[in-house]
Amino acid sequence: MTRYVLKRILLAIVTIWVVATLTFFLMNMIPGGPFLSEKAISPQATAALEAKYGLDKSLWEQYVTYMNGLLHGDFGLSLKQRGRTVLEIIVTKFPVSAKIGGMAVLISLVLGVSLGCIAALHQGKFWDRFISVFATLGIAVPGFVVCTLLSYVFGAKLKLVSTLGLSDWTSYILPVTAIAFYPTSYIMRLMRSSMLDVLGQDYMRTAKAKGLSGTKQLFKHALRNAILPVVTYVGPMLAYTIVGSFVVEKIFVIPGLGGSFITAINGRDYTLIMGTTIFLATLVILMTLVVDILYKIIDPRIKYD
């Protein structure tokens, strides 16, 4: 177990390095630069700024300097937000995103798993059909369409919830719903088919033959087996949630990391782009590791190697 975790952490470091390197060079291939659009600045001033941030050096030198800083835990200064370090920005923005993303992930899991189970247990009957139609819609309709529709109907028309910023708790409803919509539907479908598969397994017949109650059969014997595909999906779901938050935070004007990331890309805030990318990559890799360990705990057939 410890050996397995150490191996995975080593692999994670290599992955993060590859991600950082790729982002660094790809980012520099985008036309434009951080100080080009600011008309008021004279060419001399631009040159001075570039010299200050080391942008006048060769790309290779810049890369070595950045990586060296990174090794010492230094993400550098933001190029556009004067006087603020990248780390500072991430630390203030991330909790906002984490709150919305975390709620969305939790809701997707709870709703997806329970509705998927209900559908499987009512196979072919009303609730199964109802849930399946809902799931198909959720998978087919893109997230931003859902966002726009939701904010139009519930915000602009019915004025039930706030659609801008995060004022009170109701302002969380729409962004969380928008992010959770697709994963909930996907998990529902996943859970339904996996539960149907498990319910037909021989060991379920054994459980019944023992005289166990329906609830015990379901919660002890079926659920733990049926949930395995859902656990596998948690990794991709996290990535989806992060990307989804970029759009959603932009639309609902939420001061989170996703919105800040898009602003950074548009403004060619190189250090902030790098910092955010590395941070998110690390987050996904760590969560995937946690999920993999969880999977091994749930399913004893999986070996550590």
């Binding site: 054994t206 033959a209 023992k210 005289g211 166990l212 014997h221 087996n225 399913d299 004893p300």
Partner: protein, 344 residues
């Protein structure tokens, strides 16, 4: 009257209402079994062996419905019982083991967990006591290092070992009846013999009854007191093991016996498999269901289902041929009697 039997199934009719139509899986099935007896149910795949057994333990699969008949077991009228009442006797007074030990245990729980579960469910034993009992059970079914096995998962054990575990689970609450649904079909030949031997040993030790389901008459013959031969949802012949083996009456039984591989006969004697395909249960043939495959099939066989012919208290069959022979014998008897030379 039924009190003398542990199991008494009378005139059971059971159908599966599938989208394609009604499958009459059981047609007037009668089974009775005394405490401590072993009944073999033999027949090819799809003949209704499992359906018969499952209906007795309340495991009939979903589109299946009992149409009529009476199912009695150990003081319970099973066909009248609610699911909640059935749960109390399942795994407790009546247990079942299945064909495939590889898939019958839950892969995500330890052996210990799966054995103690049934003990704590049906008894007042504490967790510790249940664990001690589980260890005892593993020893009983001949598993070495029980302490270690309790902590292992199903995938860490062989098929034969897993079937022993299934037997341990089934016997945990000392049931009156053990149903074994083709318990060795999925196992190697040598393991097969070991498992059957174990079951017989435990039967003698615990005094339970066994319903042994098999499609292979040769394998179980030596351990059964009675044998019921099933074909297309009917018991076509029923008798003591000797009667069925040495005086088979139904053409299907005769075919079955001819198709058993024998080690003691000379090598030139070939096996004779039964020709033809099993009955399509959605559209069963008119008359005797075995008719289309029967080498002795007569005109009447294709028109009318044969009535019962009883040879004595324990031996009966449904075959027109026996009816004819019975009638001839009857005629011969009566003519002998009328001529005054009848035997006592």
């Amino acid at each position: 009257m039924s009190e003398e039997y542990l199991v008494n199934i009378e005139h059971e009719k059971l159908s599966f209402f599938t989208p394609a139509g009604e499958v009459k899986a059981l047609n007037d099935v009668n089974i009775h079994l005394r405490q401590g007896e072993v009944l073999g149910i033999v027949g090819e795949s799809g003949s209704g062996k499992s359906v018969t057994a499952y209906s007795l333990i309340g495991l009939t699969a979903d589109p299946g419905k009992l149409i009529s008949g009476s199912l009695y077991f150990n003081g319970h009228q099973v066909d009248q019982m609610t699911e909640k009442e059935m749960r109390k006797i399942r795994g407790n007074e009546i247990s079942i083991i299945f064909q495939d030990p590889m898939t019958s245990l839950n892969p995500v729980y330890t052996i210990g967990n799966q054995i103690t579960e049934v003990i704590t469910l049906h008894t007042n034993k504490t967790k510790e006591e249940a664990k001690a009992r589980a260890k005892e059970l593993l020893e009983l079914v001949g598993i070495n290092e029980p302490e270690k096995r309790l902590k292992q998962y199903p995938h860490e054990l062989s098929g034969g070992m897993r079937q022993r575990i299934m037997i341990a689970i089934a016997l945990a609450c000392e049931p009156k009846l053990l149903i074994a649904d083709e318990p060795t079909t999925a196992l190697d030949v040598t393991i097969q013999a070991q498992i059957l031997e174990l079951m017989m040993e435990l039967k003698d030790k615990l005094g339970m009854s066994i319903i042994m389901i098999t499609h292979d008459l040769g394998v179980v013959a030596s351990m059964c007191d009675h044998i019921a031969v099933m074909y297309a949802g009917r018991i076509v012949e029923y008798g003591t093991t000797d009667q069925v083996f040495y005086e088979p009456k139904h053409m299907y039984t005769k075919g079955l016996i001819r198709s058993i591989p024998r080690l003691d006969t000379d090598e030139h004697q070939r096996l004779i498999p039964i020709e033809g395909t099993p009955v399509d249960m959605l559209n069963p043939p008119k008359g005797c269901p075995f008719g289309p495959r029967c080498e002795a099939c007569m005109k009447i066989c294709l028109k009318q289902n044969p009535p019962i012919t009883e040879f004595d208290d324990t031996h009966y069959t449904y075959c027109w041929l026996q009816q004819k022979e019975a009638m001839e014998r009857l005629a011969a008897d009566s003519s002998a009697k009328s001529s005054g030379g009848g035997e006592a």
